[in-house]
């Protein structure tokens, strides 16, 4: 890829090659099997950690090298290239679960929770969404009642990525009355009595990631596991969303890029009415439209990443990037399936999965409608 030259230096290049090789050897050969199985082996976390992939974006003492936002971009893009959005989301679920610990945790909490995850020994998940609602984060219902130096937590969470086997869940809970100022973040260790996985959810896409419904029945969580002050959870969640939205935008762009690449390959060799599909102007132009959308979306997302990397708030821009890239991805995947004809509907063709995996991107991490609400508050 020759775009975004300004954003990537030698260390990014090395990282990209390393992740690409890892994906080529450790993931791609098994990805179809893992998709069908609905999860990938737990051991993959350890393998990824050994190479150093999980530590990117964490302080040098844990990752081994100083990284910037474009190192995160590279890991995200190359992992998505394995062709299974679910695998990338599952393997990287710590990327949405740990940042609140990093941003709000005490030194003791960081040392206790972060390194085992970056070493691939423990799995971390983020637990915000509840059966009663996901978009309305301020309305979280799971209750945490203080009892000495513990909280007693009861409630349920749903659609939690890596939820069936997470060892720790960074969880939004209600520590007081109504309203978003009464929400706190707790790190819930899943081996605590009263914690259970009530369901492994079946999904349209992202098959290789396990997604769970969680039940908490008077789970005792030490107060020492609370991140920041009581009531500071909402801010923590909102802060976290920015990176999550960036990751989802990047994932949308690569998913679309792959759908485009597959379509170009296919259109060159598939013949209809005695000529390759690329012989039809309507197909050529469609491919050009797809390529244009992908290019613009990627360039804009990189720009937003650069802003975030430079410490700018960029909430409006990242929300726009998420809306735009997810929409582009949907559209490009739709056309990709169309170009593949009936084969696009068949499991053996990558575009079939890309099409299904695309759909989550305008829903997870804040829906397109919520993004629009965020933006309208800024520009109106």
């Amino acid at each position: 890829m020759n775009s975004g030259l300004d954003y990537f230096g030698e260390s990014h290049h090395i990282l990209r090659q390393t992740v690409a090789k890892f994906v080529e050897r450790e993931i791609k050969p098994h990805v179809d099997e893992w998709e069908e199985a609905g999860e990938f082996p737990r051991d993959l976390y350890r393998k990824a950690a050994e190479v150093g992939l999980l530590g990117v974006a964490y302080p040098e003492e844990w990752s081994g090298f100083p990284s910037d936002i474009f190192h995160e971009v590279v890991v995200n893009e190359e992992l998505t290239r394995c062709g299974s959005g679910g695998l990338a989301a599952g393997l990287m679920s710590h990327a949405i679960a740990l940042p609140p610990i990093l941003a709000m945790g005490t030194q003791e909490q960081k040392e206790r929770f972060i390194p085992p995850v970056l070493r691939g020994e423990k799995i971390a998940a983020l637990g915000i969404t509840e059966p009663g609602g996901g978009s309305d984060v301020g309305n979280v219902k799971t209750r945490a009642v203080r009892d000495g130096d513990h909280y007693v937590v009861s409630g349920s969470k749903t659609m939690i990525t890596s939820g069936t086997r997470a060892d720790l869940v960074t969880m939004a809970v209600r520590t007081g009355g109504k309203g978003h100022r009464e929400i706190s973040l707790l790190v819930v260790e899943t081996d605590s009595p009263g914690f259970s996985v009530s369901k492994k959810l079946k999904k349209m896409g992202w098959w290789a990631s396990d997604t769970a419904e969680l039940a908490l029945d008077e789970v005792r969580v030490p107060v020492a596991n609370r991140l920041g002050e009581e009531g500071a959870g909402f801010y923590g969640i909102m802060h976290n969303f920015r990176k999550e939205r960036l990751y989802l935008s990047l994932m949308a762009n690569i998913t679309a890029q792959m759908a485009l690449e597959e379509s170009v390959k296919y259109a060159r060799v598939r013949e209809a009415f005695g000529k390759p599909l690329t012989g039809f102007q309507v197909t050529r132009h469609k491919l050009v439209d797809m390529a244009t959308l992908v290019e613009i979306s990627r360039e804009f997302t990189y720009r937003v990443a650069a802003k975030i990397g430079a410490g700018m708030n960029a909430v409006k821009e990242i929300s726009m990037a998420k809306i735009f890239s997810a929409e582009v991805c949907d559209r490009v995947c739709h056309h990709a399936v169309q170009i593949h004809g009936g084969y696009g509907f068949m499991r053996e063709y990558l575009v079939e999965r890309l099409y299904r995996d695309s759909r989550i991107l305008s829903i997870g991490g804040g829906t397109t409608e919520i993004m629009k609400e965020v933006i309208s508050k800024i520009i109106l």
Binding site: I14, T18, G52, G55
Partner: protein, 265 residues
């Protein structure tokens, strides 16, 4: 235990094509990788070092780009890398290559074990390990699929055609390994980035550093010369025999006789 690992940079053979006109490998645009078996040799060295202490030095002879392989080896955990690179080393046959590598190992001085791959996927001769051992005057254990170290000795399992052999040899010793020996680790990203920094522990030695004369190494120091490389033409001339089984058999025997193929007395 101090260990020297011989690492060769080779073209990724899964991508190599042969130019049908010249018969030479088309190396342009082909990725270079560490010879696959050498990664296993390095892994063995790293495991031994991690258990017993000591130092792992990777040694490679090749053009300046071969430094990539050394960087990768450092990122896997090697302590020191030495690249032997000089125009006078170019065109070396296995004799000259072994001489040069042997000289460098002598210069390293402190070593208990030299590990190499059994065979390079491009040159394919499997001669370097044994010849280096001869040059150094130390024992050699080839085709090793299991390796254990003791005080002052190594115990190896060698894969033979129809079984295996357990042998022990005193150190210093040279061992060539098979890929069944172990599962090589990946280089870490942090290690790769470190290996490209100026302070990376990589040295480049030329002919003067080794104290060799131009006629001892490279093409001039080679005992063999390549006259021509070509792909043998495997043209077939298929002849179909028809008729009853007996008639076909008779025709076949005639045909074989015509080609002077003896059918037993």
């Amino acid at each position: 235990m101090d260990i020297v690992v011989l690492v060769k940079q080779v073209p990724n053979t899964t991508e190599v094509r042969i130019d049908p006109k010249t018969g030479n490998l088309i190396r342009e645009g082909v990725e270079s990788i560490i010879n696959p078996e050498d990664r296993h040799a390095l892994e063995a060295a790293l495991q031994i070092r991690d258990n017993t202490g000591g130092k792992v030095t990777v040694l490679s002879m090749g053009p300046p780009q071969a430094i990539d392989g050394i960087c990768e080896a450092l990122a896997m955990g090697a302590d020191r890398g030495i690249l032997l690179s000089d125009r006078i080393f170019a065109g070396a046959d296995t004799w000259a290559t072994s001489t040069t590598l042997g000289r460098a190992i002598r210069k390293i001085e402190q070593f208990d074990l030299v590990l190499a791959g059994r065979q390079a996927v491009d040159g394919d001769t499997a001669q370097i390990g044994p010849q280096v051992a001869e040059y150094l005057g130390i024992p050699q254990l080839t085709y090793v699929q299991k390796l254990e170290v003791r005080e002052g000795a190594v115990i190896a399992e060698r894969a033979l055609e129809d079984g295996c052999e357990h042998i022990e040899a005193p150190t210093p010793v040279l061992v060539t390994v098979l890929s069944s020996l172990n599962e090589p680790r990946y280089p870490t990203v942090a290690g790769l980035i470190d290996s490209t920094r100026p302070r990376a522990p990589i040295e480049i030695w030329n002919g003067a550093d080794l104290g060799v004369k131009a006629y001892e190494v490279g093409l001039a120091g080679s005992l063999t010369q390549v006259v021509k490389t070509f792909t043998p033409k495997g043209a077939r001339n298929t002849q179909y025999l028809e008729g009853s089984p007996a008639a076909v058999a008779a025709q076949l025997i005639d045909a074989l006789r015509k080609k002077e193929i003896r059918l037993g007395e």
